[in-house]
Symmetry: C2
Subunit: 462 residues, 2 copies
């Protein structure tokens, strides 16, 4: 194989890696190395037989995600608002109740309990600086506590807790027992507030992208042209005697001056570095497991629930599908219902035969929207924990104790190795917006470093 | 390279992998693939210039570890009891207090507080079945709580908590905030009781092994001869169309029918499997980070503290060295003091210049044993988090939430892939004894599978 030389190698062609490449490409020779035979990472399209394109990965953008809206515009793409009219449904003990807005009509005691707990959570989240969550005076105490412990202390009715937990599942793709309270608070703060993360209109579920979010990545990759190399899973990053790095991948190797790792942390951990990364970096990555989520979408001839004045949005503590959305595409006839299996439910259904899983999901849809929902024209689901090169969704979380022991160095550069990907963002951690923030920071770091060292390194590479 | 065929490939020549190989070698063609140029894994010798051999990794065996004593005898090795006479020291606010046995003379309130908390912890641990910690009726509740939360609720004096935390550091090489309460209880139960894990005579720190525990591994490797291959870091395990597995390593590949993975979980996660391991196995491994520990040993001309009636054992909440032991070898003149840096302290000192780290450790030794301790003849320390192919010590723990979501399948076989290593044991998880238990189980599984399938596979491999 030929000696392939660039200035910057970027590992992973998700939206973060691609954005870093776009920012650097103007001035530097860049290569994006992607394990899969597609770009997009956790953003992924599925096409139904009628031509409807649906996101089976990350799909939403919302207010405050300025980088995303700017990118969408730059790429000549556009958004439409998720269908958010009509009544929402709350399913309790197999009974449906309609409600509008974010507050369902339930037992006033549970409602007050839930409201007070959420207000408390929001107030605590506000006290955190998302660029340095470890600095708050109670950081160590909060990091030493699980969200579950906090919830049991602060939400005393069972129903209040169950509804809070529906929100936790929807936001974290995990269970309250898995999460450091500090991480949960940081995460909410990082995306403005828990309410923002839960809301559709005005919140993190407001808008969808025409052609799918993976379509954005395809456009970015098209701009980058030959700089994107598919089927090139990176196995090792080795420093050469002259200080440059050799990035070994499935089908060859690239020599470069700087590397940006733009992978989910659990994947970054699997790359061998020579010399090794410092202990703190390796142990941090060991403590950033990915959430568990299966995204399920059924296609019907039309969005029939709208005729009954329903929004398509359900909250259902009993599940297994605990939240649903009307995922129909703008300007298309089909009605698409989308539901999430999350946390322990996702873990369970990950091991269940696909036909049974489909049946369980459609059972839920039928329970919420009537028998008609049991017979879609088509159905697709995506279990991101089973997906090689990702192994969990939506994002990684920091296990209890991790933010305060390892967090302060999270975004530090390891010599010529820089860190991008949504888990290395301060704002909108876990969202596409965060992936862009991290990409910008990493690209800035690399540009700064190359400006400082290019003289010397040019000599070496000459 | 030639096509290298065996029946069983074992990944990792720690004591678990080597034992599995010994058990299988009598009947099967076996290959042990080891990344390093030495065997032993987390067991490792250091030789001082005077010839003293010291364990810089795992070193102790104690009552109840029957497999270990049997192995030591089989290999023609022997043990001696750790020096455990004289007074222990407790260092509080820079003041030393002598005490005998396990109970220091401190403020009676703190003493009672500590005693009650420990008794409560022990009673809870006893209620757990170490083969199925997820089954206890309070398992989910305990797994949703950190040990830190429990400790703050059950130990109300600051001194009581600080002393409990010295024990937690010594046993887990981690902080109470990192640990699921259920995991901590399971771990104690798995090694009989917390008291057993803390005790010297009659407990887990009772005996040392002549020639070091790594010496045992060398003897095992000598028995295995050509079956042990060094410098063979395994990168991938790929299933061939005929059902056999190709194990790709640094310097070639081996074709086999069964694989035993006998690695720390964080290392196992870095091997690529094709086809991929199921989601639950991958996500479980993502949730088993290794502890943090630096083991520090100073050599003096003689164990001078003994003359003053001291055992060499210190408990010191302020640290940085929180516990020490008289690590002198039987029948040698030198006095060896050993101290641990653990959890956050280990994380901190991992990033500190070696000379400064040495000075900080010797400062502690001098504080505990007088100025003479500041000037050893030699000093060595080992930061296991910095060590490639290990990346943390003593063992992995399961992050909060993990035992109840993933634990039930922990020791399950993944088709032809079997799991050994101390983290896959039910008794003495985290100890050498556990490594042997897991090795036996994995070897039994493999032997059973080969007995069932050898007809068919012999045909295939013919």
């Amino acid at each position: 194989m030929s000696l392939d030389q660039v200035q910057v190698a970027i590992v992973g062609a998700g939206i973060s890696g691609l954005q870093a490449a776009r920012l650097l490409q103007k001035k530097y020779r860049v290569r994006v190395l992607e394990a899969r035979e597609r770009v997009g990472g956790r953003l992924c399209n599925h096409q139904f037989t009628n031509g409807d394109t649906v996101d089976v990965g990350g799909q939403w953008v919302g207010p405050g995600q300025d980088r995303m809206y700017r990118l969408i515009e730059e790429l000549g793409a556009s958004t439409w608002p998720l269908y958010d009219s009509g009544d929402n449904l709350l399913c309790l003990n197999s009974k449906l109740r309609r409600y509008r807005g974010t507050i369902p009509r339930i037992n006033p005691l549970a409602l007050a309990d839930l409201g007070i707990a959420m207000a408390r959570f929001e107030a605590m989240a506000k006290s955190i600086d998302p660029t340095a969550p470890w600095e708050y005076k109670k950081a160590r105490q909060w990091d030493a506590t699980t969200l579950d412990t906090w919830l049991h202390k602060n939400c005393r009715t069972r129903l209040g807790r169950e509804l809070f937990e529906v929100g936790i599942g929807a936001v974290f793709a995990g269970e309250a027992k898995d999460l450091s309270l500090l991480h949960a608070l940081f995460y909410a703060r990082s995306g403005h507030s828990l309410e923002t993360l839960l809301a559709v209109t005005g919140g993190a579920q407001q808008d969808r992208v025409h052609g799918g979010t993976a379509g954005l990545c395809e456009r970015m990759a098209a701009e980058l042209g030959q700089a994107v190399q598919l089927n090139a899973a990176v196995e090792a990053v080795e420093q050469l005697p002259d200080g440059r790095l050799r990035v070994r991948h499935q089908s060859g190797s690239v020599v470069c001056e700087r590397v940006i790792v733009a992978l989910p942390p659990n994947q970054a951990l699997r790359i061998r570095f020579e010399p090794e990364l410092p202990a703190w970096r390796d142990q941090l990555l060991q403590r950033m497991p990915a959430g568990a989520c299966i995204k399920c979408i059924a296609r019907y001839d039309k969005p029939f629930w709208r005729e009954e004045g329903l929004s398509g949005q359900v909250a259902s503590p009993a599940g297994p599908v605990r939240v649903t959305f009307d995922n129909s595409e703008a300007g298309r006839e089909s009605g698409l219902l989308m539901g999430f299996l999350e946390g322990d439910v996702a873990r369970y259904y990950s091991n269940v035969d696909p036909e049974q899983r489909r049946a369980a999901v459609l059972d839920c849809f039928a329970q919420y929207f009537g028998e008609r929902a049991r017979q879609p024209l088509e159905y697709v689901d995506k279990d991101w924990s089973s997906e090689p090169w990702t192994r969990g969704c939506y994002a990684a979380h920091l296990a209890p104790g991790t933010w305060t022991s390892y967090g302060p160095r999270m975004r530090e550069t390891n010599g010529p190795v820089h860190w991008a990907g949504t888990e290395f963002a301060t704002e909108w951690f876990g969202y596409m917006e965060g992936a862009l923030e991290a990409a910008e920071r990493a690209a800035d770091e690399v540009a700064g470093a190359l400006a400082r060292t290019s003289g010397r390194l040019e000599l070496v590479t000459a």
